[in-house]
């Protein structure tokens, strides 16, 4: 009834995979559809075939990590990223993309040379929304039990900050936000992912 598998896809259209082990898949799917691309669920390594980009959504990073491990997706995701295709991680997804994880450690992919500190702001009662400072003007950012990013390496570009902390970072084709761009109608973070995907197309 609520199954949302691969949608019909015109040949020229980009298709973005969304890791669907656990977490907020539907809001990302809606944002991708609004930006004019197709999307597909990723729950097994073979689901990564033919995708142009990938999203690691928010959710519980411990839960998602255990799910990735169970189905052997860690290695497949590493290979996907090495192929040069872009990856966006949001909140829990950003934790999974970091080089190092502090607080409650989980296995991460190390796609971005940065340290993620889990539950750094506190519990849900400390969740908040604000406007981030950076290239994207007026970027409204929602933080839900968010991690903090620390010690960005020399190859990491900080695209937005809140209270001095990096909240939107990029290293080559890897993008990560500690906030939830899928929960606001802004669309610019998803557009940035699709832009990177278009550059990769032959």
């Amino acid at each position: 009834m609520v199954a949302a598998g691969r949608q019909s896809r015109p040949a020229a259209e980009l298709c973005v995979g969304i890791v669907s082990v656990q977490g907020a898949v539907q809001p990302h799917a809606a944002a991708i559809a609004k930006a004019g691309a197709a999307w597909a669920q990723v729950r097994h390594p073979e689901d990564l075939d033919d995708l142009d980009a990938l999203i690691l959504p928010g959710g519980e990073s411990t839960t998602i990590s255990k799910g990735l491990e169970r189905v052997g997706l860690y290695e497949a995701l590493e290979a996907f990223a090495q192929s040069g295709r872009p990856v966006l991680g949001t909140c829990a997804g950003a934790i999974l993309m970091a080089r190092e994880v502090e607080g409650f450690p989980v296995r991460s992919l190390g796609l971005i040379d940065i340290t993620a500190v889990r539950n750094a702001y506190g519990t849900q009662v400390d969740s908040f929304a604000t406007v981030a400072q950076g290239e994207l003007e007026g970027l409204r950012a929602i933080f839900i039990r968010a991690p903090q990013l620390k010690r960005p390496g020399p190859d990491v570009e900080v695209l937005a900050r809140v209270d001095g902390w990096p909240v939107f970072v990029r290293q080559q084709n890897a993008l990560a936000t500690t906030f939830h761009p899928e929960l606001t109608p802004d669309g610019r973070v998803h557009a940035a992912l699709l832009e990177l995907a278009r550059k990769q197309q032959p």
Partner: protein, 307 residues
């Protein structure tokens, strides 16, 4: 409501549209996951290690409440705090229906979600908590669409079916899911001028009923609870439209809680993939004992609490 003088039925924070967005946001993050009832930090650790997306702290699991009777109340503060220190995933806890002082205690503890639950003994037989005034989001149980929308109108940021907690029997959760989704489908078939009469029948606010008629879904995430005891039960709830599941007595009343917990997590993610389901159903210990609904008279049914 929350600013009234006198007893001040309200929370410690400000009720704003922004805070409601944050509350629903956390509910969104729990989709596709399993929320497990736990009564101590050891169980919470097992739940987290098994892949739970949150734990629910309570003093006794529903099947024990059913067996032992007595008044069931909010979990002890020390236990909640020790669970918060033990796990990285969100910690939920239950309060009695209408007991806004228990809610204030949990809010001040920084609990991630408050379940105003029929599983505990109701504190107020007429009024549910005004949930907008709290910083912690609330989840509430519902048997039908009207009940779900009444709770949302009071500020609930997540709805779950009531099912029949502690029964190990999925039949009531299935009934509630089918009722809620069936009523939403039938709303969509109405002409605009027919919606007001339906709102009256549902005993729900017109604006929320109109919104469901337009979108076809609840304005907050819609999960299943009450009687889920096996991986197949969890998958069934997902296939009927539940976006995540709560498992109460099922896990820690089974022969091998860690194995069953992992299996239910797997079935919740892969509910529509038969090969994964077979693997999830393999090698499970003894499931909890179930209760046939006919053997429970109306006064023993927890789902009848609340309105």
């Amino acid at each position: 409501m929350s600013d009234q003088a006198g007893n001040g039925n309200g929370g410690t924070g400000e009720a704003t549209a922004q805070s409601f967005e944050l509350k629903v946001g956390l509910a969104e993050m729990m989709k596709g996951g399993v929320i497990m009832d736990v009564v101590n930090p050891d169980q919470a650790k097992i739940a987290e290690d098994s892949g739970a997306c949150a734990v629910m702290a309570l003093e006794r699991v529903p099947s024990d409440i059913r067996r032992d009777g007595g008044v069931a109340r909010m979990c002890q503060v020390e236990i909640i705090e020790s669970i918060q220190r033990t796990v990285s995933i969100p910690v939920m806890a239950k309060i009695r229906i209408g007991h806004y002082l228990e809610a204030q205690v949990l809010d001040a503890l920084g609990v991630d979600f408050i379940d105003e639950s029929e599983v505990l003994t109701p504190a107020d037989e007429e009024h549910h908590v005004d949930k907008f005034g709290f910083r912690s989001p609330f989840v509430c149980g519902a048997r039908d669409l009207g009940e779900a929308l009444r709770r949302i109108s009071e500020g609930a940021a997540m709805i779950r079916t009531k099912g029949e907690a502690g029964s190990g029997n999925i039949v009531e959760a299935v009934r509630h899911l089918r009722t809620i989704f069936g009523q939403m489908r039938s709303l969509q078939a109405l002409l605009p001028e027919e919606v007001a009469a339906r709102a009256k029948e549902l005993r729900a606010p017109l604006d929320l009923v109109q919104r469901v008629a337009e979108t076809g879904h609840l304005p907050v995430p819609n999960f299943a609870a009450g009687g889920i005891a096996t991986p197949a039960d969890a998958a069934l709830c997902r296939s009927l439209g539940a976006e995540a599941v709560f498992v109460g007595s099922g896990i820690f009343k089974s022969g091998d809680p860690a194995v069953l917990a992992r299996a239910i997590v797997r079935a919740t993610t892969h509910w529509d993939q038969p090969e994964e389901l077979v693997a999830a159903c393999r090698g499970l210990g003894k499931p909890m004992e179930g209760i046939e609904m006919e053997t429970l008279d109306e006064s023993q049914r927890l789902a009848n609490r609340g309105w």
